[in-house]
Amino acid sequence: MKQFAGLFTQLDQTNKTNAKIKLLAGYFDEASESDKLWTLALFTSRRPKRSVKTTLLREWASDLSHIPVWLLEESYHIVGDLAETLALILPAPTEENTQDLSEWIDYIREMESMEEEEKEVHIKHAWKQLDAQERFVFHKIITGGFRVGVSQKLLVKALSKHTGLDENNIAHRLMGNWHPDKTTFEELILSENIRDDLSKPYPFYLAYALEDRPEELGEPTDWQAEWKWDGIRSQLIIRGGESFLWSRGEELITEKFPELKPLTAYIPDGTVIDGELLPFKEGNPLSFQALQTRIGRKNVSKKYLKEVPVIIMAYDLMEWKGNDMREEPLSERREILESIVAKCPDSLMQPSVIVENDDWGRLAELREKAREYYSEGLMLKRKDSTYKVGRKRGDWWKWKVDPLTVDAVMIYAQRGHGRRANLYSDYTFAVWDGEKLVPFTKAYSGLTDAEMGKVDAWVKRNTRERFGPVRSVNPELVFEIGFEGINKSTRHKSGIALRFPRILKWRTDKNIKEADTLIYLHELLEKYG
């Protein structure tokens, strides 16, 4: 554990990518096979099942440290991280420990079959052996949420450095359904045969937002333009007579969408398709919110199958007849893709609509109308582009329509977490409903660190009431809020819910009387909802 906790601490101490890669590669060179495997698992969000509730951890830590629970809670609000709060509050260890990471994970998993009293003894015993740094990691393993700024990309680079293997190959191997219980480092990363697992997806190719004018990209005819959809980016795999549906977040979601199962009858074995899972009814996409509600259900009821049916809007072809197609040019992949999709029922799969593109100016005009087509904008893909791994510049760009905006008044502020711990960084905004301010959204991002520092200081001086980590503040500050979409909501007093709200600008030039109204938001809802 010392080794892994040390890695964690060191990773935390640098913002420099190269330094992180070096640290990770160095760690892989030293660590045991099982520790390497678990490290990969933890950094790719494959943590052991939660075996103990955090409320119990709080109680036991309170008990052992003689710090009352209320004070522990208050401390947590200020620290912004429960794993860290518990680690800091507990008394110093009285025993040594020599177990490595995987042994501690086994120790944690032993609790799965324990009664509460046994768990308490088990956890307290661990706390007596682990120092503050190790305890922090120990808590993170239990509670999940390893955020150390180790991206998949970084992990892949470090592994490549450690093994000498090609990065794309490693990125592919890290995908899919593996678990440390069922594989070894050797098998996962080093073995010759990568495809024993039928369900194994390819890494997605992700685009950056276009920042320059499209004219900079060259001839419009070299570029395929298609509508960008707001669903779940997914990968459909048909192999061995079975179908597997993966989300971009690497979740296997096959069972959530049983209506897509029949596709196996239309699509031959050895086919992998990249597309957007989209709620789609009567020829038009539904709101993302509808899809979200459906996913939120434990069981897919008949009602949802009927009310929120889904299709796959097919973007690209990654595998065909069992062959990896990613090195073929987009134009060829697209041609085969169209022939495959043509054989599938419209109600299950459609090819993403390609937009005519012989003039950047005309395309720009069309983009402005994206919302009328229920789309978020356009995707631009170079026709001769290969299918790359991860987020890459150059060949694919997303060219989203400008966000909708509203000027709103801040009325609540809340302390943030992580890097924003103990800083009032999360705000609730309101618009005018007659003489009253009605809250309609929260937003967490968009300000620079310097602006956030100023708002934080302002919040502390302009607090009206405190409710735990939340404060109501004097309604004085106006912000421009940007968002991608707007929907009806029965859960909110305002009657609306926004998609991807964020702060675009602190309008220091505006008085609260100049903020927008609820009527305006309902007009937007009418138009785009």
Partner: protein, 353 residues
């Protein structure tokens, strides 16, 4: 508080009516006792000052050569209208004092800022028995536990050595009064040369001129023929105040690694937010355990918490110890803790931290 209390909390600061004396006042008064020379405690414009002998050089440097200043050694008393005032080591910085106020058998102590750990530079903290104790509570939360100074200084020295081996300068951020001298005293001079930012050098020199020993460093020269250049800093550590973070001043040091020595670095969120390469947990204030030990050691029945997480700390004392506690609003409060934190961050100085 009742009007007949020995010390009261007025809009100008802590006040002793019987002697007509203020302690660390923030508005202009006739007689002020100063716990230590940090700018939020030793303010400009008092008619007469009383402070510890070792606070003199800094107070004259910052408040003016000609201030009317009477000094005391630790344990020495002055009597004003029947009230005995004496100063006792607070361990915060050189010359920092707790103020003991005694009148007709009643004893109050004003802690000023203090820490329990002996830092090898300031005279170590000594508990003073009293009936009522006015304590700071800057770090009055159980998540604040300081590592031993020796461990932190090892971390700083090995960070410096590591940087030096790669020809990267080490810029360590420490308040120019107190933290800078503390860090300086424990640096391993075999690693490389030590440079001081002007604000730190001024403080060091004021001490030296007064006969207080501070290790020699090179003052960074920014102009003229003797100007330091980047190559002078390759193996060096540079001690500078927080105001230089992100300023053009640091360009002369590039490439450099940025380290911050502060108690606030105990929290991961703060460390990450400050975007320093390294955060070293080194504070001149008492940690949670230190505050509680200090309060117990005074034997005080009543405690007044100022600065920091006062509300939470007072609630803790009231609900879970035999001490009766109240919150005292100071100039910085309403919201002591955070305000002070915020003010410090805004100004980029806040030397009290």
């Amino acid at each position: 508080m009742a009007g007949h209390s020995l010390l009261t909390f007025s809009s100008k600061g802590i006040y002793c009516e019987q002697a007509d004396v203020y302690i660390d006042p923030w508005k202009q008064v006739d007689k002020a006792i100063i716990t230590h020379a940090h700018s939020d405690h030793a303010r400009w414009g008092m008619k007469h000052y009383l402070a510890h002998t070792s606070s003199e050089p800094i107070m004259r440097l910052r408040l003016g050569k000609d201030i009317s200043l009477q000094t005391l050694a630790y344990g020495e008393s002055v009597h004003i209208n029947g009230v005995a005032f004496s100063l006792h080591p607070a361990g915060h910085i050189i010359g920092s004092s707790q103020v003991r106020v005694a009148y007709q058998g009643e004893v109050w102590v004003v802690s000023g800022d203090y820490k329990i750990q002996d830092d090898g530079v300031a005279t170590p903290y000594e508990p003073v028995t009293c009936h009522a104790f006015i304590t700071e509570s800057t770090f009055g939360l159980p998540v604040y536990t300081w590592p031993k100074q020796a461990i932190v200084m090892d971390q700083i020295n090995s960070w410096w050595a590591d940087n030096a081996s790669q020809n990267v300068a080490s810029l360590i951020i420490a308040y120019s009064l107190g933290k800078a001298q503390r860090v300086l005293a424990h640096l391993d001079t075999s690693i490389g040369p030590i440079f001081s930012h002007g604000a730190v050098a001024n403080t060091n020199e004021a001490y030296q001129a007064f006969g207080i020993s501070v290790r020699d460093t090179q003052r960074i020269i920014g102009q003229g023929p003797d100007k330091h250049t980047k190559k002078d800093f390759r193996k060096a550590i540079i001690i500078a105040p927080p105001s230089v973070i992100g300023s053009p001043w640091t360009r002369r040091l590039q490439p450099f690694s940025l380290g911050i020595a502060s108690g606030w670095m105990a929290l991961r969120g703060t460390r990450r937010r400050r975007a320093a390469d390294r955060g070293f947990v080194l504070s001149d204030h008492a940690d949670w355990k230190g505050l509680n030990e200090a309060i117990q050691a005074t034997g005080a029945e009543r405690v007044y918490a100022t600065h920091g997480y006062t509300n939470l700390f007072a609630k803790w004392l009231n609900d879970h110890t035999s001490v009766k506690a109240e919150v005292v609003e100071t100039l910085f409060s309403g919201e002591g803790e955070e305000q002070r934190d915020a003010t410090a961050e805004e100004k980029g100085k806040g030397e009290e931290i």
